[in-house]
């Protein structure tokens, strides 16, 4: 397993989507991205494998930046997004 947590550094908002199936993690991201300022980062922690593809696709469709993937302390994948607008 890669280095736990913080591989991509701290984020302003972390959404715990463990145990949620697609499209719930992306819905959470869409609902809550507005809570951080433009330029700030949001992470989606999700074990549903579709999130690996759908978070970057969400960024492309919504004009936001996909920063990358690391892992939370418990080993669950974390997908990091920067709010651009």
């Amino acid at each position: 397993m890669s280095e736990p947590h913080e591989g991509l550094g701290p984020v302003e908002l972390e959404l715990d989507c463990r145990g949620q199936l697609c499209p719930l993690p992306v819905i959470a991201l869409g609902r809550r991205v507005g809570e951080v300022a433009v330029g700030a980062r949001v992470a989606v922690v999700a074990d549903d494998v579709a999130a690996r593809h759908d978070v970057p696709a969400w960024c492309r469709m919504r004009g936001q930046e996909y920063v990358g993937e690391d892992v939370a302390a418990d080993g669950v994948p974390r997908y990091v997004v920067r709010r651009l607008s």
């Binding site: 199936l21 697609c22 819905i27 869409g30 494998v49 593809h53 759908d54 970057p56 696709a57 469709m61």
Partner: protein, 327 residues
Amino acid sequence: MLDNAREVVAECLGARPDEVSFTASGTEAVHRGLLGLLRGRRRAGDRLVHAAVEHSAVLHAAAWAGGEHVSVPVDRHGRVSPDDFVAACAGPGVAVAALQAANHEVGTCQPVAEVASRIGEVPLLVDACASAGRVPLPAGWAVAAASAHKWGGPAGVGVLAVRKGARWRNPFPGDDRVDERTAGFENVPAALAAAAALRAVVEERAEVGARQRALLDRIRHGVQVVPDVEVVGDPEDRLPHVLTFSCLYVDGEALVDRLARHGFAVASGSACTASSLEPSHVLTAMGALTHGNVRLSLTRDTDEADVERFLEVLPGVVAGIRAEAGL
């Protein structure tokens, strides 16, 4: 009688009658076709080059055969670059290449003829299950596979075409019958029905295809009125009768159910609706959204009124599902 079916199918696909065999399904045709080419090329190596978006029939046969597999990536439309594919085929130990005629989920046509003309002696398996009958079979195949129910024929009939002179060897135990490429008895009535259906589809495909392309263009533009909806697949070089789009934040199963209540039977490629939780390997290879997918298949009698009614219903259905999710 079977020879008659063989002749009709051969003529429709641009093959010789003695190159055509009937199998139990398109999947079986793909399996026999691919494994037979790998067996015939054992001395050349065990490496298989294939597009990342091949049907699971190709991927499962490849996994079963073992050996080394090179998956060639696709662009946003789901198409391989001919240069990339040809370069992969030029590597050492390449036994066989597999490239679909058109993608089964998003309808994008692949550059089969160009690739075939540039890979020298590497034999090409062309999975034409999604396209056969609808568009001409592209040139350059060593083996082609097709499925009768996909062109409106009966289920339970596949077509395996092996080019004269192709290095194909039966990968399974032989059956001492007329057709050395298959086993068991062909389903003669079903093969005849498949041939008749194929002939009918081919005869009217110019007219039906043009009408369907116009309808798909209307749908393509119409669905994009709905916010956060993305049509996937090539807009031009594509099958005329299928169109796929993805709706952000929408559960594919809910979408299929509600459209069904309005009388539209659509398919969804979303993992949420499939038995497996793995997202579609086609959509992930394209970088497309893997949830909220709708695959529309037009029938030969789908008309403008159907399309307009669909476009009228869709925005409300999508908005309703999103509202329930708090968006």
